[in-house]
Symmetry: C2
Subunit: 403 residues, 2 copies
């Protein structure tokens, strides 16, 4: 992989995200709202009704016709007949006792707080007048019928679930993508295939941790991952494993075999199955990244070819996969020291937040290699250094994405 | 509930968090690392081994004894014998071909990148010398045996899963709290108990959305929620429902019945079951909040009494429950306009991030009532206005917690 063959971060992102756009046009399933947490909405969801659906009391008190209470005061209270709410309607000079949240009877148009009333023998004394719709939560005050309450592509939060269910919505359409995870490498062992740490150490084995990491990362964005048994460094085995996984999924993510010999197996295997759309991106970490398309039974399938180094594969997944489905929040904050970079390459620098004396600074984590897993668990976010920028100085304001 | 009876936000938090500290001393279960995503670590987890476990090649190239290559250059290459790696050891003037990530043979102490070597007939020409441990990922470079890799109370991320599994850790202890969710209110209907929106509207019914919201919020922090059938506004029914739920859980969260009459049922019911530790907190929204302790079969159980208003109950859950288990990240950022508050009360103000011209501002959301669910779905974070502060002005720097 020569430097001149690499494509830029933005070009790579465009190729991949355009492919996702295609795929996302028809990949959905209908789920019960109770199972929709963290899933991604397939469409704009509009309110089928106003919310509240009816005028409700916003206080504990008495539903009245506001005009009946005009002029009421401590010294000049107004007397109303207290009726029960059986018929759900009041007439002039009548009132009904309500708790917060209860619907207003017909004809009532205000609630007098109980603190301003004295109840006695079927009457109440109103000691403060109410203007029309005082202490009333009105129909449509929160949401109007037809309002978009969840946008296409939005991730469903617990708050969305509350809102959607309040609107009487029981099922929604969410994206449904099946993702097969395949690690390659003779040195890898799956979690079930060893007993002790010494077995790993003495056997020079490395745990297939990438598949486990990606499994959680995909669950986190509401898609459906499946882990496949790791493939050895053998073109036919890799090819057959990818074909099997592609047949059962929409996308396959391979990791490992980053070394040239091994990588060739994966790349060569993929070339026999489909079309390599890109290979090698001007980013650090994460340069040895590939993306391919394959047509299987008339369906478009995609392969993400990730590095075997956990930090590199985490970055590749973040930039080219997760960010399509669930972009990170970002803010602009000052750096507390320099970061060096190289023109022509996009750098991803993990950072920690430093809060001190009512100010927030961003501290770049010192990471020595893309194999250094421990650093990634300590980051609060990351900074992308654009290919046109040679680096930043302490005090510079940078865009920080939160993990 | 009179203003003077309310306790402060900090006092309430201390009472509750101290109770959690007690409970958390013994509530754990052991889970497979593959099921640990988003769970909370019960203890400090220490590395059982160095990582890497053995010296590995950091490049594609040739493992050598560094001293053999000293002085090698383009014009004065050094010749080494290329041997196969069967015995996993080299002697002086020997080398072994390695891919990135492969273990170094014994006695080897450096890797010469393949770019600086020419391979021919069982020999290689080294055209650049390597110093000791050049291009070697050394034992313990990432993690040292005994290092704490996950702290007690930390939430397990996909990156932790990668790190823990790489260390050969297959199972970990995580907090295990069972949470029963119980809504009260005659006006509530559960999701399965209606068919159409018109049924709700015409019957003046409100969907029991709080339990669904809390169910997701509790899943989000890795604890185990169970929803109970909603209880009607009747002291005995509420009491029996709470007792049943307490018997099957460590904590019960009730919502609804915020009005005085209804609230009394819940509070009165709880007083018969246990001890009300607090009732009413100086916060907005969320004032009508209660917390109680009950001893059942010699075990301490807790009841959180939340408001029926979704925004209020979301805030109560955030401040008094979630924040114990998973504190939000925060940064200091400037406000783009004033926020008013009241001395003696802690206000929770939801905000949006506004990114413009390389600066981030915080915009308070205009929220009219604690029933306004739609606003909560639009917030990026929130600001807590301390009880000693009367409000903020545009331009003031405030602490923003990210949702």
């Amino acid at each position: 992989m020569l430097l001149k063959d690499l494509i830029s971060y933005n070009d790579a992102k465009n190729i991949i995200f355009n492919s996702f756009n295609e795929l996302m046009r028809y990949k959905y399933k209908v789920v019960d709202i109770r199972s929709s947490y963290n899933k991604i909405s397939f469409e704009d969801i509009r309110a089928p009704t106003d919310l509240p659906m009816f005028d409700k009391s916003a206080m504990d008190g008495y539903a009245v016709i506001a005009e009946d209470t005009f002029g009421a005061s401590e010294t000049n209270p107004i007397i109303l007949n207290l009726i029960d709410n059986t018929n759900n309607i009041i007439k002039t000079d009548e009132c009904v006792k309500l708790s917060t949240g209860m619907p207003l009877p017909k004809e009532a148009n205000a609630v007098v707080m109980k603190e301003y009333c004295i109840e006695e023998d079927g009457f109440i004394e109103v000691r403060r007048g109410a203007h029309p719709y005082e202490n009333v939560a009105r129909v449509g005050e929160d949401v109007k019928k037809g309002d978009i309450v969840v946008k296409k592509g939005e991730v469903i939060t617990p708050y969305h679930i509350a809102l959607l269910s309040s609107l009487g919505i029981k099922n929604i359409k969410v994206y449904d993508l099946k993702i097969g995870l395949l690690s390659t490498g003779d040195e890898l062992v799956d979690l079930d295939d060893f007993n002790t740490v010494n077995e790993l150490k003495n056997g020079y084995k490395i745990v297939n941790s990438n598949s486990l990491m990606l499994y959680s990362l995909i669950n986190e964005i509401g898609l459906t991952p499946t882990i496949y048994k790791r493939a050895r460094d053998n073109k036919e085995e890799i090819k057959n494993s990818i074909l099997k996984a592609l047949g059962e999924n929409d996308i396959v993510i391979t990791t490992g075999g980053t070394s040239v010999g091994d990588r060739d197996y994966t790349i060569e295997a993929i070339k026999e199955i489909g079309k390599l759309l890109l290979h090698g991106v001007q980013i650090r970490p994460g340069k040895p990244f590939g993306f391919a398309k394959s047509i299987l039974n008339d369906e478009e399938k995609f392969v993400f070819i990730l590095s075997g180094y956990p930090v590199a594969s985490a970055v590749q997944f973040e930039l080219f996969f997760r960010n399509y489905f669930r972009a990170r929040k970002y803010v602009y904050l000052p750096l507390n020291r320099n970061i060096a970079s190289t023109l022509g390459r996009t750098d991803i620098v993990r950072v920690k937040l430093i809060n001190k004396d009512n100010k927030t600074y961003i501290e770049p984590l010192r990471i020595t290699g893309s194999g250094v897993l421990s650093s990634i668990t300590k980051a609060d976010g990351y900074v992308l250094i654009d290919e046109n920028i040679e680096g930043y100085e302490g005090g510079d304001i940078v865009k920080v994405y939160f993990l």
